[in-house]
């Protein structure tokens, strides 16, 4: 059971939500794309309902709202250390089903793998999630293959069509806020059931797959820019970084910033030793994590099939083609 709103009502609903939440969603950043006169769609705070992008896949995922690209965790003054304050207001994030499944992967790492992460927990507890139903599959999406096309445990489901929006609420707070609005209707949530791209994930890779010559090809092609990691909704690596202020070297802060396993320095240890110096090895490290190593540890695949890494690579390295190659190695 859900509600129907016409398009005029949605701005009003948005304003009601804004009173309780900072509302985040994919929006267009004009002229900030990789090439001249191109735009980027990434997550940011929405100022109006119109800004929310429905018909295209966001170039970057929702993860930067929960886990900022650079996050100050501690402030230092002369003799004191202070925990950085969290977001003052609750947050509502609009995201698609694949990204909502990625949330489970972020939770796995930050809340369950070892001790709980204080900063992630703080942000997570303060956030509700609105899943946007996809009308059709996007470029290089393969959510159906990964089983991430449908989801259930959202706080809100919302689907936009010509008539307006269909909405389901599964969170008390949101229900109370929106109780008096819209028209009650009997509809089912819509999810994508078919992608143009179909991927068969290899489930039985040989133990020697890391030594396979297939990885060498990536060694000469990949330029190690790390974009595939930064657009991935399930990549969680970071590096700790301390800085001091130029105008007051006695004060400074400790941050964590996103890290990429494709970029130089990722594995360097004190004294100069570094592992995986070749880009081919780095590609292997990343791909096997997404479809094999993560599953060995947590029981399900890390990759959610959003296809962003496929779209962003400046060298046109195809992750999907790589998975297909791996599939051929299965059982050998």
């Amino acid at each position: 059971m859900g509600k129907r709103f016409n398009n005029d009502e949605m701005q009003k609903i948005f304003e009601i939500l804004q009173e309780s939440y900072d509302v985040y969603g994919p929006r267009i950043y004009q002229g900030t794309g990789c090439f001249s006169d191109t735009d980027v769609i990434r997550y940011g705070r929405l100022d109006s309902w119109e800004e929310l992008v429905w018909d295209q896949k966001s170039d970057y995922s929702f993860k930067e709202v929960l886990f900022p690209i650079s996050e100050t965790i501690l402030y230092f003054t002369e003799n004191e250390m202070k925990t950085a304050d969290g977001a003052a207001r609750q947050r509502l994030i609009f995201l698609k089903s694949c990204d909502f499944h990625a949330l489970k992967r972020l939770d796995e790492m930050y809340l369950k793998n070892g001790a709980e992460d204080y900063y992630y927990r703080r942000m997570r507890e303060n956030t509700v999630f609105a899943v946007m139903g996809c009308k059709e599959s996007g470029k290089n999406c393969f959510c159906v293959s990964m089983g991430t096309n449908r989801c259930e445990e959202y706080d809100m489901y919302i689907f936009q069509d010509e008539k307006g929006c269909y909405m389901e609420l599964r969170c008390r707070e949101l229900e109370e806020l929106l109780w008096d609005y819209g028209q009650n209707v009997q509809e089912e949530p819509t999810f994508v059931e078919k992608n143009e791209v179909h991927v068969e994930v290899p489930e039985k890779l040989p133990d020697t797959i890391h030594q396979d010559s297939m990885w060498q090809e990536y060694g000469s092609r990949c330029i190690g820019c790390g974009r595939c990691n930064f657009v991935c909704p399930t990549c969680t690596c970071f590096t700790m970084q301390d800085i001091f202020y130029k105008d007051n070297p006695k004060a400074g802060e400790r941050r964590r910033v996103w890290a990429s396993c494709q970029v130089d320095g990722y594995s360097d240890i004190a004294g100069g030793h570094s592992f995986r110096q070749n880009q081919g090895e780095r590609m292997r490290f990343k791909v096997l994590h997404k479809i094999s190593d993560y599953k060995k540890r947590f029981g399900y695949h890390m990759c959610v099939g959003c296809g962003r890494c496929e779209n962003v690579c400046p060298e046109y390295i195809s992750y999907i083609a790589c998975l297909q190659k791996l599939k051929e190695k299965e059982g050998k």
């Binding site: 001790a115 900063y119 970071f238 590096t239 240890i269 004190a270 030793h273 190593d293 060995k296």
Partner: protein
């Protein structure tokens, strides 16, 4: 909700200078800790660095630090009585139960001696807990030798072989640690355990020599050094296959450890 990223301040009780760039800092610490575990040490505004525990006492831990970067450079500026920040201990460390009652062989090279120093000292002082203790330690040159004070004691307590890669001074044995493994003659190879810690190449060949002696993979333990930014299983840098070195290691039984690749 605990914030694991907040370090505590620890006072430097004593500094032992081994070489120009390697000092042991004896740090105030009371709590559970094992040899082979590590702490993230930090100097605010400069950063954090993972340092393994090289010694344990009732109210202290020893951290043997090599001056190689920004953080360690700042730590080397400090004197006894001053303090720096730490958080930890992290990782599994060496469990003495794996070695008790057996003949123990410890093979370590360079700074790899730090994480096993606690194990060697413990069994050196509790000789009744092992059948026999063989220790082979390798350093690049005589000027790189760490823990000289301990070496004097260990010489009395165990079968100690100290070797340097090369030296002009004839009083030192020369050659890699692997050269001396075939000379070991354990009484009963089936009741022997071995610990190997050092640079990746050294570990690989030392393990190969131990296997040649007739040891099984399950009898050998190694410790993996990887980049550990958080120590909490979050930052990802130390991962090998499905394993987080900071959580599941750094100490692995070789039968498991050999499956990990970078």
């Amino acid at each position: 909700m605990a914030n694991e990223y907040i370090p505590f301040l620890s006072k430097i009780k004593e500094i032992v200078k081994h070489t120009e760039t390697e000092y042991t800092f004896r740090m105030t610490y009371v709590g559970d800790v094992r040899p082979g575990q590590f702490f993230e040490v930090s100097i605010p505004k400069y950063g954090e660095a993972p340092i393994s525990v090289s010694g344990i006492g009732e109210d202290y831990v020893d951290l043997t630090i090599r001056k190689v970067g920004k953080v360690t450079g700042e730590i080397f500026e400090l004197n006894e009585g001053s303090s720096f920040f730490m958080r930890g201990p992290y990782g599994n460390g060496f469990e003495k139960e794996n070695y008790q009652g057996k003949e123990l062989i410890v093979v370590a090279g360079g700074t790899g001696v730090s994480p096993v120093r606690g194990v060697i000292s413990y069994f050196g002082e509790h000789q009744n807990e092992v059948k026999k203790l063989h220790t082979i330690l390798g350093f690049k040159s005589p000027s790189d030798i760490l823990f000289r004070e301990d070496l004097k004691k260990w010489e009395q307590q165990m079968d100690l072989i100290l070797t340097v890669d090369s030296s002009d001074d004839d009083s030192y044995r020369t050659g890699l640690v692997t050269k001396y493994i075939p000379e070991l003659e354990p009484d009963n190879i089936h009741e022997t355990a071995a610990i190997v810690v050092g640079p990746p190449v050294m570990m690989k060949f030392a393990v190969a020599e131990l296997l040649k002696l007739g040891m099984k993979e399950e009898q050998i333990w190694i410790s993996q050094e990887r980049k550990m930014c958080c120590g909490l299983g979050k930052c990802g840098h130390c991962r090998m296959n499905d394993t987080y070195i900071c959580l599941d290691g750094p100490v692995f039984c070789y039968s498991e450890g050999k499956k990990l690749f970078d």
